[in-house]
C-alpha cells in the first residue's frame, strides 16, 4: 500500500513538472508594441568675462598728486604739465591704479586665453647718435650713447584678487616692447573648469618718466616736440665740423614723441 502511494506521489510530481513548464513558458510570452527612449543634455557653461578700467595718460599732471594725471580742466597752479592733448613729460607718471583688466569665469570647456599687443603700439624714443647739445645753448655736439626710451612701464598681477599687486618678473620699469612681450607671454590654454580669475587674476599697467635719467635726451625730445627742425643730429662725432641733418620722426626713424599701447584679450574655446 505504501509503495503504491509513493509511486503515485512521484508520478504526480513528475507530471506537475511537465505541466508547470508549459504554463510558465506561456505566461512569459510578450506582446510589446511600443517602446521609447530619450536623453537630455544642457549647454556647457562658458561665462568668461574680460573687463578693463582706468587710463594711463592725461592732459594735465598735478603737483598735488605727485605728477600723476589730473582732470583736463585742472587749474594752472596745481599742474606741472598741461596740454590740449594727452601728453607725457619728464617727471610724470600714471596713477597708481594705471590701467587694470581682469579675466573671470570658470568655463566647462578648455579655453585659450590670448593676450595680444597690436600694431597700434608705439613708444617715445631717441635713437643713439650725435646731436646738437641743446643743454649748453652753444654750437656743441653731444652724444646719446644708447637708444633712449624714457617712459618705463611696469606690469603688475594680482592672482585671485587678493588686493595685493606684484610686479611680474622681468616686467618692472621696462620699455614698451618688453612690456608687450611679457603681456603676450601670459597667453595660455586652460583646462575645463579652471577658475580663470584664480589663474590670471587682475592685471595692471603703470608707467613713469624719471626726470633725472638723461637731461640731454629729455631736452632734445622736448625741443623736437615744439619744433621738429629745432635740433639737428646725425653728426659723425662731437667734433664734426659739418652741419647736422634734420631729424626724422617715426618708430623706425630718428625719434618718436608718442607712446600708446593697444591690448586685445581673447578667450576662445579649444577643441
Amino acid at each position: 500500500m505504501r509503495k503504491n502511494k509513493m509511486m503515485r506521489a512521484a508520478s504526480a510530481l513528475l507530471v506537475a513538472v511537465l505541466l508547470t513548464t508549459s504554463v510558465i513558458s506561456g505566461t512569459f510570452a510578450k506582446y510589446v508594441t511600443t517602446a521609447d527612449a530619450s536623453d537630455t543634455a544642457r549647454v556647457a557653461k562658458f561665462g568668461v568675462t574680460v573687463t578693463a578700467s582706468g587710463s594711463l595718460f592725461g592732459k594735465t599732471y598735478l603737483t598735488t598728486t605727485n605728477d600723476t594725471p589730473g582732470a583736463d580742466d585742472a587749474v594752472d597752479n596745481t599742474v606741472t604739465v598741461k596740454s590740449d592733448v594727452k601728453v607725457v613729460a619728464p617727471g610724470t607718471k600714471s596713477s597708481e591704479d594705471g590701467i587694470e583688466f581682469s579675466i573671470t569665469g570658470t568655463p566647462e570647456v578648455d579655453v585659450n586665453v590670448a593676450i595680444a599687443v597690436t600694431e597700434d603700439t608705439y613708444d617715445v624714443f631717441l635713437a643713439p647718435g650725435f646731436y646738437d647739445d641743446v643743454t649748453t645753448g652753444a654750437d656743441d655736439i653731444a652724444q646719446v650713447a644708447t637708444k633712449y626710451e624714457p617712459v618705463k612701464y611696469t606690469l603688475w598681477q594680482d592672482k585671485g584678487g587678493t588686493g595685493t599687486y606684484t610686479a611680474v618678473t622681468d616686467a618692472e620699469n621696462v620699455n614698451l616692447a618688453t612690456l608687450a612681450s611679457k603681456l603676450e607671454g601670459l597667453t595660455k590654454t586652460y583646462d575645463s573648469n579652471t577658475n580663470l580669475f584664480n589663474e590670471v587674476g587682475n592685471l595692471k599697467i603703470t608707467w613713469a618718466w624719471d626726470i633725472d635719467e638723461n637731461d640731454l635726451a629729455d631736452t632734445i625730445l622736448g625741443d623736437l616736440a615744439a619744433d621738429a627742425n629745432s635740433v639737428k643730429g646725425k653728426y659723425t662725432g662731437i667734433n664734426d665740423p659739418n652741419e647736422g641733418t634734420t631729424l626724422v620722426a617715426g618708430m623706425d626713424k630718428d625719434y618718436n614723441l608718442n607712446t600708446g599701447i593697444q591690448i586685445d584679450i581673447t578667450v576662445t574655446q579649444v577643441d
Binding site: 512521484a10 513538472v17 506561456g26 510589446v32 517602446a35 521609447d36 527612449a37 530619450s38 537630455t40 549647454v43
Partner: protein, 308 residues
Amino acid sequence: MKKEKRDRSRILWLCVVVLFVLVAVTTIGYSLVLNTYLPDDSGAIPLIPETVTPAPDGGEKKPDAPKAPESAPEPEAPGTGGHGGFEKNPSAETFDDDQVWTTNSTFEIFRISDENGTGEITVQSVDGEKVIAPGMEFSYVFKIKNTGNVALDSEVEVNTYITPDDTVIPITGRLSRYDGKWIAGDEDNYATPEVLGAAEDVTTLGAGKYAYYTLDWKWPFEGDDVLDTMLGNMTITEEVTFTIEVCATSYENPDPNADGGIGAPKTGDEAQLVLWLTLACGALVILLILIFIDRRKRREEDAEGTLT
C-alpha cells in the same frame, strides 16, 4: 525503532524528491525569462549565410549573400490566436547594447565629458549633468527585433525638444537605416534639429528578423561663434537644454508572411535547452524514486529473513 527509522528515511527521500522538482521548475522558468537578455548575436558571422531582404518601401539594397537553407517553422506558443491552424505570436523588442527599451527609457546619446582626437578631455561637466558644446558629436545604434512568429511593421519616430522655447541650438543630426536608407540627413550632410525632430520611418520585419538604425548628432565647432558664445553665457543663469527622443512602435503586418530585416545567423546549435532540462530533471526524479523503492524492498526482505 527500526520502523521509525524507515519512516524517517522515507520522509527524507520524499522531501529530496520534492526539492529537486522545485529546483527544476525554477530553472526552467528562469531560463525562459533570462533568454531574453542573452547577448545579442546579431553581429555574428553566420556559418550558413542569410539573404538581406530590403524593406518594401524601396530602401537601398545591400549586396545579396548566398541564400540560406529553409528553416523549420517557428514553434507555437500556447494560448495565442490562430491563423489557418497556425497560432500567431506577434512581439517585438527595441534595444541597444546596454538595455532593452520599455517606456520612458533613457539612452546614452549625450555624455558628461568629451575628448579631442588625442584623448584629452576638452569638455567636462562641473556637476555631473550631461552637456553639449561646440565640437561634440556622437553616434548611437539601436535595434528593433521581431521576436514573434508573424511579420511586423515597425515605425520609428524621432522628436527633438529645446528649452527655453524659441532658443536656437545649432545641433545637427541624421538618421540612417540598416539597408542604407537615410531618414534624416545623408552621408555628407547633417539635418537641422527641426528636420531631425520630424524624422519618421516604417520598416517591415519578418519573423525573427531585426533592423538597426544609426542616429548621429553633432555641434559643429566652426559654426556661428556669436550664437555659440551667447548660448554658453546664457546657460550660466538658466537651463538651456536639448532633448532627443526616439519612439518605436510595432504592429502586425496584414500579411503574416511579409518579409524584411536581417535574419539572425544560424550558428549550427539548435539544442532545445528547455526540453533537455525538463527530461533530465524528470529522469532524475524517476531515478530517485526507483532507488527509494529498491531500498525499501531490500529492507523488507531483510526483515523477512530475520523473522524466518
